[in-house]
Symmetry: C2
Subunit: 190 residues, 2 copies
């Protein structure tokens, strides 16, 4: 991770000193860079289900969150749900937005760029001809996603695009979603 | 959408009658199949940010959720956060799990297949050499995702794989994540 900052205090709320020592630790022991994240999902009824996030593996350890996080999903009435929670494709936008934002903030911090405020708007287009199996030429997933970042930072306006590109360049979700991920699925009786 | 069910009552908590009439409505007026989902994300500090989900466009209308949904994100301490919420790559697994589950449940309902219980386990592998820019050969995103579905349904065990494949075949998030989506990003001052 490129750094231009000499004094490694917190920048953008990121403990830069710890970030730099993580980089050194990974260089010394590459296996600590391997992480596995996991969730358990439980179907309720119709479009309602929830995921529980309890633990993950990283730095050669099994690690737990201080408390389990519960993530709900539903669909709006027009898509036959009760609209009690965001739907899966909205959660996907949140995953993308949160990851690009955090990646930008961390990589800016490592370069000593102070970010003061960030807001972003994500939208994606879907055509139900795909999901409803009405047209083989229409994909099931998002056709495209548009993102608009608004940033106030200790940098000239002309640099803002570059700062946002730190987010898109390093974000694990941005890479996963733009380049695709192999997903292996098995089924068994319950 | 293939249907084998004669009496279109609710199956799996899905209003099958409404599902079938949606199919007919889309056939009659293709433009109602176009949806745009959106979120607004606000950075708090460090790895903490949240998305607000308020409205979406679909069926040629601007539609609102009954109340805005707030989705939080943070990172665990080992990734320099305060661990107050699931992290972006965990949210991505939830988006995938919820979408495959709902897609399976809807398409099974349309075929008259009763599903009684579903649990699933999603896990994905990340190598921080990517995010930390320590190795150009290591991708930033998930290297692979493994999914294990456990299903109790009104079907022989040998059919369970087929039922789960209804989920993966029709899920918008599964398609988005396995095949990739173009993402266009702009930046401006706040």
């Amino acid at each position: 991770m490129a750094t231009t900052q000499k004094l490694a205090g917190p920048t953008n709320g990121v403990a830069v000193e710890q970030l730099l020592s993580t980089v050194e630790a990974v260089k010394a022991t590459p296996s600590i860079a391997k992480f596995t994240f996991r969730i358990r999902n439980q179907w309720e009824t119709g479009s309602r289900n929830c995921s529980i996030v309890t633990s993950f593996t990283g730095a050669n350890q099994q690690l737990s969150h201080p408390r389990p996080f519960t993530l709900q999903a539903d669909e709006p009435a027009i898509l036959l749900g009760k609209d009690l929670a965001a739907n899966p494709v909205e959660h996907l936008l949140h995953a993308l937005a949160s990851c690009v934002t955090t990646s930008m903030v961390y990589h800016a911090a490592a370069r000593g760029i102070q970010i003061e405020q960030v807001e972003s708007f994500f939208e994606g287009d879907l055509d139900l001809h795909g999901f409803l199996d009405l047209s083989p030429d229409v994909r099931k997933g998002y056709q495209q996603i548009r993102v608009r970042f608004k940033v106030r930072a200790d940098a000239p306006d002309g640099k803002l695009q570059e700062i946002v590109e730190l987010g898109t360049r390093y974000s694990p979700v941005f890479d996963s979603l733009t380049n695709g991920v192999p997903v292996f699925v098995s089924a068994e009786p319950l």
